[in-house]
């Protein structure tokens, strides 16, 4: 009897699994149910550090991600921007990712700027993308103008009031990296190590395990890992967004996957016993 059940379970069509996973995502998306948010120490530290930046200071926020990972990374950028602009911080953005990065920054910032009454060139600047990230990161430590003579819209930096006295990393109180790739290694290894700039990062879940070591060694102040990290940050900022809305689906899908892992193991071991 047991082995027959195992046989049936072992032969479940993969499309049934896809269907169940889809249902597990769709239902919580349509019927949002609130789940308690446990803030991790890494997220809390990052939030506290940004909160401690004196009002009207300057922060460098990077949009180092592709459109394919928007679900995880954009909520981080949005939450950080809301926190920054609530404190009247001046925000400079750049991207080491050409495909998407600068245009995502443009869309996110212009949308939120209207809401917070922020003016381009006075409260925020989008530097855009330059190729060869290693040269860019090293060059910015010597002279921002040598790498970015103009901003994303081809406006000379000197004609932007906010950028008049900004020419190296020293102008920034903090660097907040939002990334979906290994560029965090370069920010830490080149910019933190060689220029002593303080920084924190929000990364996709796939990248997160690697970067916790940087938090432990204080090379990163804190770390947001994937959609959960973004939801935690939204909770701290006090603005529920896309990440918080996605956590219900995230939990239900994880539960479904755990059940399928148990079923798979049961089918495997019961099947082996039969042989």
């Amino acid at each position: 009897m047991l082995t027959r059940i195992a046989d049936v379970l072992a032969r479940i069509d993969r499309r049934i699994i896809y269907l169940l996973i889809s249902i597990s995502v769709i239902i919580p998306t349509l019927v949002i149910f609130p789940l308690p948010v446990q803030v991790s120490p890494e997220t809390q530290k990052l939030y506290d550090r940004v909160e401690a930046i004196p009002d009207s200071s300057m922060i460098l926020l990077t949009f180092d991600y592709y459109p394919s990972t928007l679900a995880e990374t954009e909520p981080m950028s949005v939450a950080v921007l809301k926190q920054c602009w609530r404190k009247n911080l001046k925000v400079v953005t750049l991207s080491t990712v050409g495909l998407g990065g600068p245009s995502i920054a443009d869309r996110v910032m212009s949308t939120l700027a209207d809401k917070f009454g922020k003016v381009y060139g006075i409260d925020y600047v989008n530097l855009g993308y330059k190729a060869n990230y290693q040269a860019v990161l090293l060059g910015l430590g010597k002279s921002i103008r040598s790498i970015y003579p103009t901003d994303y819209y081809d406006t000379p930096l000197d004609s932007l009031p906010m950028m008049k006295n900004v020419d190296t990393y020293d102008a920034f109180d903090f660097i907040f990296i939002v990334s979906d790739n290994g560029i965090v290694d370069n920010w830490v290894g080149l910019v933190n190590a060689q220029f002593g700039s303080e920084m924190g990062a929000g990364v996709t879940a796939v990248m997160a395990p690697k970067f916790y070591a940087y938090v432990r060694s204080n090379q990163l102040v804190g770390l947001l890992g994937g959609m959960k990290g973004a939801a935690e940050y939204e909770y701290l900022v006090g603005e529920k967004g896309a990440a918080t809305a996605g956590m219900g689906a995230q939990s239900l899908v994880h539960l479904t996957i755990i059940i399928f892992i148990l079923i798979g193991n049961f089918a495997y071991f019961a099947g082996r016993k039969k042989k």
């Binding site: 896809y18 998306t29 928007l70 495909l99 994937g226 809305a245």
Partner: protein, 210 residues
């Protein structure tokens, strides 16, 4: 045309292409192939335009022709030499450019790895021995045993074999953590698409009918 209608048409196109990609979960089909080819072509075309504008024009042509930065002719020539790979008789010339790129990258990476990763991580772990015992000890055992697992100059027998086995445990724990996070990441991407289809797309439709 009304902004809302344009937005809805954009969303509908994106929604259609998303569904085309998802259709592969059932089986391979022409709609999936169409979306796949559009994605590949669009990405390639966008990159060509991006590199042309942000590298060739902004960092080479304009500085040389308008700012008189003639020293940039040299890296420009190195770039041109890369294309000699397309001609068999001249392909050896591309090695000059490749050598420059390899040397440059190695120089930056060695400093980056040593100064930004190895030394700070070593320093942090060692300095913690004064404050705690088990944490840094586990890290030390993990690093040494994992390195020994990848030491292939001697057969893994005796003490070396036992240490390599301990290394395997640490590698498995690391793989497990990465796998768990990867599942979470991939599920997040699916959630993002579903939110787009069921929230953003529907919202854009509601906007034009209201």
């Amino acid at each position: 045309m009304n902004h809302d209608i344009v937005l809805f048409l954009e969303m509908t196109l994106a929604g259609f292409l998303t569904l085309c990609i998802f259709s592969f979960l059932y089986k391979d089909n022409p709609f999936y192939r169409l979306a796949e080819h559009i994605f590949a072509g669009l990405s390639a075309g966008y990159y060509v335009g991006l590199i042309w504008h942000s590298v060739i024009m902004q960092q080479l042509w304009v500085p040389i022709t308008q700012n008189g930065q003639y020293s940039l002719i040299l890296p420009g020539l190195l770039g041109v030499l890369m294309f000699t790979r397309l001609v068999d008789r001249l392909s050896f010339l591309s090695r000059v450019s490749i050598a420059f790129v390899v040397g440059n990258t190695a120089g930056i990476s060695i400093i980056q790895q040593l100064h930004g990763f190895v030394l700070p991580q070593l320093g942090d772990t060692m300095s913690r021995f004064g404050q705690e015992f088990w944490g840094p000890l586990i890290i030390l055992i993990g690093v040494v045993s994992t390195l020994i697992y990848f030491y292939f100059s001697k057969e893994h027998k005796g003490a070396l074999g036992i240490t390599a086995k301990v290394g395997t445990v640490f590698i498995m724990v690391s793989f497990g953590a990465h796998f768990g996070y990867t599942v979470m990441g991939r599920v997040s991407l699916l959630i993002g698409r579903v939110q787009f289809l069921f929230v953003d797309w529907v919202h854009s439709f509601n906007k034009i009918i209201n």
